[in-house]
């Protein structure tokens, strides 16, 4: 689990445009997509569960009842027929703030994000990250939790609560639970696999991302 990205319920709600309360109700009622719980009790959704809930959400949005949508999901899971690919809208051109202390890691992440069509601003300290956020209002921040001597968690909380920026937390340490508790939408363990980085960024900038700001 620690090698895979984990998403918070809040991030899922924004990504899929489904209220968190609805996700919790579906979890209790249908018991098909049940996220792992962190020691602190936070729901940790896997990438596969994101796809499963996206599948359900897509069908509900076309008029199917949640129970029928879950029945369909169950059939797909039993038969092994793959779920439809994620219908993530093209958000290339979005600005991503990369807060990374390691120059080599920053170099790779910036390269792969730019390759995927995103604009990238790199900050190597918490102060630079705040200044950059004030100046350009990024759509998403990728934050190394060890930034500026380990002030990444506080930066996550500040970006989320005060500046309303969605955060993908990354770390060499398996501290996804702390990251989600601090307000990060998702967590990835370093070193980052380029496809995983891009797919999580796409998820977080998905169709709900535009709504995230207007919700608040």
């Amino acid at each position: 689990m620690e090698n895979q990205p984990v998403y918070s319920i809040g991030a899922l709600a924004r990504m899929l445009d489904i209220p968190a309360a609805t996700l919790r109700t579906w979890e209790d009622r249908y018991a098909i997509v049940v996220p792992e719980r962190s020691p602190a009790g936070h729901r940790l959704y896997s990438r596969l569960q994101v796809e499963q809930l996206r599948f359900v959400g897509d069908r509900v949005s076309t008029g199917l009842s949640p129970s029928d949508a879950y029945r369909l999901l169950q059939l797909r899971l039993v038969s092994g027929v793959p779920l439809d690919g994620a219908q993530v809208p093209d958000r290339s051109g979005s600005l991503i703030l990369l807060v990374e202390r390691d120059p080599y890691a920053a170099d790779f992440s910036e390269y792969f994000l730019r390759q995927a069509g995103y604009d990238v601003a790199v900050a190597t300290t918490v102060e630079q990250a705040i200044a950059e956020t004030m100046r350009n209002t990024p759509d998403l921040a990728v934050v190394d939790l060890l930034i500026s001597g380990g002030r990444g968690l506080r930066l996550c909380a500040r970006l989320r609560e005060q500046l309303d920026i969605a955060v993908l937390a990354i770390s060499t340490f398996a501290i996804g639970d702390d990251a989600l508790a601090a307000g990060a939408a998702a967590f990835l363990l370093k070193p980052l696999k380029p496809p995983a980085l891009i797919s999580v960024v796409q998820d977080l900038l998905g169709r709900g991302a535009l709504l995230a700001k207007s919700d608040q």
Binding site: D102, Y104, D107, F108, Y111, F112, P194
Partner: protein, 459 residues
């Protein structure tokens, strides 16, 4: 414990404590011809996939063309994978024209382009002379290690390093794991041996482990040195005849299945014959048995056993004959254990322990082999009889020198006696574990019926 990946060799994975550490820097060192490039390619082809491509970088030690030419003679080399999941690149020209800085830039571009999960740099040591000043190589190392740590890639740095370089060369401090390929000399003989010096974040099997190179790559024989296993295992409780009348007559309660017996004595006394009686008793009972011999080839042995009405052709008998010349003790022990496992043999004759001792690199290793072998056979309920030739025709000077005399459950001493026209043979049970036996020296004879005790002369 770090996550592991296969080295391409199951036994080597055991030595490494589960495989190569993932997302790590591993140094593979050894003299030219020790098999570094073979192991590196074995690792590459065992792991490369479309999702986890591999990058093999040659430098200035061996031309890429040559690596590929010899590589394709290896059974695991899959030419169809080259250019799909395995990418070979030559850093030699970059190194010549742009030195170490050029290597860093080229490597960064290759990582961006190929997104490899594994990288081999062969040879790493050959890059040393391209540092522009004394601190240049350390700086290069720092940058290279930083770059490789920032990406999910496991890299293998291959180099012709000496044992003492491990303490001196800065790359050894950077490495997360160190595997050294070398040679162990024993008298006029030499063996290839591999040693793991370091695996950061995990355990590994210490000591030297024999290996062989072939077209199938590197075959490793992990040093057979079972630690004392205190876990319970079930010993069979019923006692059975050993099949040797003379021995059964001296063992008051009978013979324990799974027990090990050392039969020591001078040449020609009947040690092998005693072992054959032991084994063929099981064969006649319908059990499976195995003869592991380095003493007589199959033709000679067939002639011997036929005198007693037996045959090596028996369906439930397996013969494992290996010449003692250039015997590879690690390979032999693994072969024997595999044969015991495959046949389900309840009895094994090992003829002789002396041949095995001569092939072992040293006395300590020999003890470890014997201990591990007896431990494993005992746990699976296989009875082992081992012969050992003593140099003295009369009397015994140093039986305690034989490691197996301490480790075996039973020790039987066969001796010549008498200085009359006809030499007689005597049998003494020196030791029996968990049972009682008749003490004293008893005369025995070999007849077509086997080995029987001679009744004591009337007073």
């Amino acid at each position: 414990m770090t996550e592991r990946m296969t080295s391409g060799s199951g036994p080597l994975d055991l030595v490494l404590g589960g495989g190569m550490p993932r997302d790590a820097i591993i140094l593979l060192v050894g003299a030219p011809g020790s098999g570094k490039t073979i192991l590196a390619q074995q690792w590459v082809f065992a792991n490369a996939s479309p999702e986890r491509p591999a990058l093999y970088l040659s430098t200035v030690s061996e031309p890429l063309e040559k690596i590929l030419r010899y590589g394709q003679t290896l059974s695991f080399f899959d030419a169809r994978s080259v250019g799909r999941t395995v990418w070979y690149e030559d850093l030699g020209v970059t190194l010549r024209d742009h030195a170490l800085k050029g290597v860093l830039e080229r490597l960064r571009d290759l990582i961006r382009e190929r997104q490899p999960s594994i990288i081999v740099i062969d040879s790493f040591r050959a890059m040393h002379p391209y540092a522009d000043r004394s601190s240049g190589f350390r700086r290069f190392l720092h940058d290279l290690a930083g770059m490789l740590s920032a990406f999910p890639v496991t890299s293998l740095w291959v180099g012709e390093y000496e044992e003492e370089d491990i303490l001196r060369a800065p790359e050894f401090a950077v490495a997360d794991a160190i595997i050294a390929l070398g040679t162990v000399h024993s008298g006029q003989r030499s063996f290839r041996a591999l040693q793991v010096h370091k695996v950061r974040g995990g355990g590994f099997r210490p000591g030297k482990h024999a290996y062989r190179l072939s077209a199938d790559g590197m075959m490793v024989y992990p040093r057979l040195a079972d630690a004392g296993d205190s876990s319970d295992y079930v010993l069979r409780s019923e006692r059975v005849p050993s099949g040797i009348q003379a021995l059964d007559d001296l063992l008051e309660d009978g013979y324990w299945p799974g027990a090990s017996t050392l039969v020591a004595g001078p040449t020609g006394i009947g040690k092998t014959l005693m072992g054959l009686h032991f084994v063929f008793h099981a064969v006649q009972q319908g059990e499976r048995a195995l003869i592991a011999t380095m003493q007589e080839d199959p033709s000679q042995l067939e002639r011997t056993v036929s005198r007693f009405g037996w045959t090596l052709e028996a369906e439930n008998l397996t013969l494992m004959y290996r010449s003692p010349v250039d015997l590879h003790v690690d390979e032999w022990v693994y072969e024997l254990l595999a044969a015991i496992e495959a046949t389900g043999a309840s009895r094994v004759l090992l003829d002789s322990l002396g041949d095995l001792q001569a092939a072992a690199p040293d006395e300590t290793r020999f003890r470890e082999y014997v201990y591990s072998l007896l431990h494993r056979s005992s746990r699976r309920g296989t009875s082992m009889m081992m012969t050992y030739e003593l140099p003295d025709l009369f009397g015994v000077s140093r039986l305690t020198d034989i490691a197996a005399s301490h480790l075996a459950d039973n020790v039987v001493l066969l001796q010549y006696a008498g200085f009359t026209d006809v030499m007689s043979r005597t049998l003494t049970v020196l030791k029996t574990r968990a049972t009682d036996h008749e003490a004293g020296v008893r005369e025995f004879q070999i007849t077509l019926d086997g080995i029987t005790l001679v009744p004591p002369a009337a007073e």
